[in-house]
């Protein structure tokens, strides 16, 4: 069934049972004229800011006076509370494209929208694109719509929360000249952005494209537990206690524990239904947890730096040792075969079952394998604790720590159709102020949150900064959830007051990650920073990366299952040869070039 076939004029001139040629031509002509007239009408309104008086940007940024209501813990680094004046001399209007989100509700009637307009004196015409609520992930669909907008010249002033990739930003900024470079504007007008650059020195390098320009306003979310991410594996503590075992520290101890889980019936129902070690679903791999005992493993796409040389880890001897270890667990039945096929729904069913069957699970956090029920007195999920990175041969242990997690590029870009980019940038900059951040994320002051009092403790036990009065997320229409751009430093995130009687899982996740992985993190200069590539490089690398990554994951599963056996040199050499055939050298070479070209 194809689209675009309305044939009205043909039928219209068809009344007498036979089609007169003149009628047909007349009909066609009428449609043609109609189309041109309509087009003429609409072309005037295409894109850009439609305003009569935009006002002038306030020189040097809006007037900023400190807000004394906020108290900070000692050594605090992060957004600072202040009162801000308007960013424009007269009421201005900008058009902003945002993702639709049921939690935000109607963007134009949202409480935070109103508050921000009052503060900045900038009115916003929102255009919503239907898509994912998660601004860190551009969905293909959202990009389809954005590309259609760009190619029809129907540009808004700003795209917010779209999640452009670094390469898309570079193509649209440098090649297509659709996004405005912001270096100068930030320098002259954006106080809070400059504070961020100072607090987090990496920000500037991450956001600067190979041509030395910054095309997107930063969006920083320094989340402690996220940096450990796929390192985490969980173990059911009560079983360890019951069997009189201690938390495994080495690979051998881990193996012993798993064997005990499998053979000693720790759930005491007389059946050997225990699953010693499994993954949260068939897409979750074991590598980030296990390989840390043999070599530094950053996780997908497994790129690392060694003395400024870009390399991968999945063809190193340490990786092979890890595969041998996994294969041993598998052949002893400690990792069941189903681990590679179960869907997340099936695992959740196991995790939520009345009889505990899951011993150790490789998963991002509890909700990956069971429901987090916060209302229980002693929630069961808290019985699963993180297994620290295990000590391997020669006492090697390194947890892959993602130092570049805080930065998501592409959350806020100003297009060249915008006639008042300074005002748009300052509108963004205003959102980095502390009160703005909490309002944007948590909702209305006094209703959803308040400033913390002296002595209230945050997640890390230090003085809290703000106290949430309602559970996150707030009801629709009160906040922008995570669709705005924010400056959430580590200090800010940990400054959320915790009710000692009812801690949320955020605190437990922080403590688990801090105890089990943080002490073993690698040095930052081993991690490959996010690279922005030219459109040419990006095109070449996309295919290579997909092919290679898929093959590595597929082979990880196969080696674990012993088909082929990682202990045989032939199988391993075969694997290495296939990787080279897939273009690994070229892949590394392109990455190396992008790394060398990156702004220092």
């Amino acid at each position: 069934m194809s689209s675009g076939s309305t044939r009205e004029p043909v039928q219209g001139s068809n009344d007498n049972g036979s089609l007169s040629r003149r009628g047909f031509i007349q009909g066609a002509a009428a449609v043609g004229i109609g189309a041109t007239t309509l087009a003429a009408c609409s072309s005037g309104g295409a894109g850009g800011s439609k305003l009569s008086s935009a006002g002038k940007p306030v020189k040097g940024g809006p007037k900023t006076t400190p807000n004394k209501a906020a108290i900070y813990p000692e050594g605090y680094i992060g957004p600072v509370a202040s009162f801000k004046g308007p960013v424009t001399t007269e009421h201005a209007t900008i058009t902003v494209v945002v993702p639709q989100d049921v939690q935000v509700g109607d963007w134009s009637k949202n409480e935070f929208t109103k508050w921000l307009e009052k503060r900045t004196n900038v009115h916003v015409n929102f255009k919503e694109i239907a898509s994912s609520a998660n601004s860190n992930n551009a969905s293909d669909e959202m990009m389809t719509k954005v590309n259609a907008m760009i190619s029809s010249g129907e540009l808004p002033d700003v795209f917010m929360g779209m999640g452009f990739t670094a390469s898309q930003i570079y193509v649209n900024g440098h090649d297509q000249k659709i996004f405005t470079p912001l270096n100068k504007i930030i320098d002259e007008y954006c106080v809070e952005t400059k504070r961020m650059f100072k607090d987090y020195p990496d920000t500037k390098t991450v956001y600067t494209m190979p041509d030395g320009k910054i095309y997107s306003m930063p969006n920083l979310n320094d989340c402690f537990h996220c940096k450990a991410g796929d390192d985490r594996a969980w173990i059911y503590k009560p079983w360890l206690d019951k069997l009189g075992l201690k938390m495994p520290e080495t690979l051998d101890e881990f193996e012993t524990v798993l064997e005990a889980f499998k053979t000693k019936d720790p759930n005491g129902n007389g059946i050997h239904d225990e699953i010693a070690f499994t993954a949260a679903d068939n897409a979750t791999t074991f590598d980030k947890f296990i390989m840390g005992s043999f070599l530094y493993n950053p996780g997908t796409p497994w790129l690392v730096l060694e003395n400024d040389k870009v390399d991968v880890v999945f063809n190193k001897p340490g990786w092979r040792e890890g595969l041998k270890y996994l294969n041993r667990l598998y052949s002893k039945g400690l990792i069941p075969k189903e681990s590679f096929t179960r869907t997340n729904e099936q695992v959740l069913r196991l995790g939520n079952a009345k009889t505990t069957v899951l011993g150790a699970v490789r998963g991002y956090y509890w909700a990956s394998f069971m429901d987090i029920v916060e209302t229980d007195k002693h929630p069961k999920y808290l019985d699963y604790v993180c297994i620290p990175t295990l000590r391997g041969p020669n006492s090697f242990r390194t947890a892959g720590w993602d130092y570049y997690q805080p930065y998501s590029v592409g959350s806020f870009v100003i297009t060249t159709a915008c006639k008042i980019p300074e005002i748009a940038a300052m509108w963004a900059d205003s959102q980095y102020e502390l009160e703005s951040v909490v309002r944007s994320y948590q909702g209305v002051q006094g209703k959803n949150w308040r400033w913390a009092k002296q002595g209230e403790k945050g997640i890390n036990g230090a003085q809290a900064i703000y106290n949430n009065l309602t559970l996150w997320p707030p009801k629709p229409n009160l906040a922008w959830i995570q669709n705005g751009i924010m400056y959430r430093s580590d200090g800010f995130r940990l400054g959320e007051a915790v009710d000692p009687a009812h801690p949320t899982f955020e605190k437990a996740l922080y403590e688990n990650s801090k105890a089990a992985y943080y002490p073993y993190r690698q040095k930052q200069d081993l991690q490959l920073p996010p690279l922005s590539m030219t459109s040419d490089e990006a095109g070449q690398i996309a295919d290579l990366q997909t092919t290679i990554n898929n093959y590595v994951i597929q082979m990880m599963t196969k080696f674990t299952q012993g088909k082929p056996d990682p202990n045989q040199d032939g199988a391993w050499n075969n694997y290495l040869a296939t990787l080279n055939k897939m273009g690994l050298p070229k892949y590394l070479q392109i990455n190396q070039k992008a790394y060398n070209d990156r702004p220092k």
């Binding site: 194809s2 049972g17 255009k127 719509k145 979310n221 956090y365 029920v373 955020e506």
Partner: protein, 299 residues
């Protein structure tokens, strides 16, 4: 009651009947089970559903899911919008299809062959997404309800089925008889053809309405005003797009919340979204087979 004394079923007949009943019962169960499961799940505690405690009948009955569904403005507006698109879109498409199909069914239409070929071209390939988008943009339809109703209003496939239906079920003699009585083409079409074509109209209406009800892509591409979004777009946001890879999400509380929300809303939403098509089917079904069969003969 003569049948009592009638011939007893032979052994093979009885085996056949038993098999027949068994297989058909299994078939019915396999069709009914998902329906019952979803309705039950929609009024059960999501935790019970996740842990596999609920397998057929509701466990820990709660209407929390439905209450949450209706708390979201977007879902209610989306539902109403979808109804609008389905009804108006179907009415518009059916009219155009009938108007296109009838002349093409007439042998005395001059240039019938070339027109038909012209119609068939977009069945093989279309202009592509961006060019179509540009056309919609230039026509000023972007971000209006008409963007979902007008582009692609006519499906050539439906035109062909309808044309064949007319060819088969409206005899030429009828037209001649009407002409003798002084009836013109319009009158003939409205007074004779339409009343005789209820089955094919019903089939067309159902196809177009269900098509509109299920579609989301045009809305995604053409609409940037969330007050115009159809239900499917809102559903997609809640159900599909939020089930993302956890390692890609920077915030655990966001993720946990999305999962909980999804669990709570999932089944209620599916029920709500399926009600209109389920209600429409029984009324159209009796025409369905007839319209389709006649329309597809002599294609």
């Amino acid at each position: 009651m003569a049948t009592r004394a009638r011939i007893r079923d032979s052994r093979s007949d009885r085996i056949f009947t038993i098999w027949n009943v068994t297989i058909l019962t299994l078939f019915t169960v396999s069709v009914l089970y998902p329906l019952v499961y979803i309705v039950s799940a929609s009024i059960s505690d999501p935790h019970a559903v996740n842990s596999g405690k609920m397998w057929l009948w509701p466990v820990q009955v709660t209407i929390e899911g439905y209450r949450t569904v209706f708390a979201y403005h977007e879902i209610v507006t989306g539902f109403l919008n979808s109804l609008f698109y389905a009804v108006v879109g179907a009415a518009f498409s059916v009219s155009l299809t009938l108007l296109a199909a009838y002349p093409l069914s007439r042998r005395d239409l001059y240039g019938r062959g070339p027109i038909m070929v012209y119609f068939l071209i977009p069945m093989v390939f279309s202009g592509g997404m961006i060019p179509t988008y540009l056309v919609v943009h230039q026509l000023g339809l972007l971000n209006t309800r008409w963007a979902l109703v007008i582009p692609g209003a006519v499906s050539v496939f439906q035109v062909i089925i309808t044309r064949t239906f007319f060819q088969v079920s409206i005899p030429e003699d009828l037209l001649e008889a009407a002409r003798v009585d002084g009836c013109n083409d319009f009158r003939f079409f409205f007074r004779m053809v339409l009343p005789l074509s209820k089955p094919i109209i019903a089939v067309n209406a159902l196809f177009y309405a269900v098509g509109q009800w299920n579609s989301w892509f045009n809305a995604l591409i053409y609409l940037t005003n969330q007050h115009l979004f159809p239900l499917q777009l809102v559903l997609r946001q809640i159900l599909i797009l939020n089930s993302v890879d956890p390692s890609q999400v920077t915030d655990a509380s966001l993720l946990a919340h999305q999962q909980a929300l999804q669990d709570l809303l999932k089944y209620g939403l599916i029920v709500i979204a399926s009600i209109p098509p389920l209600l429409a089917y029984p009324f159209v079904q009796k025409h369905f087979v007839k319209g389709m069969m006649i329309g597809s003969l002599k294609g």
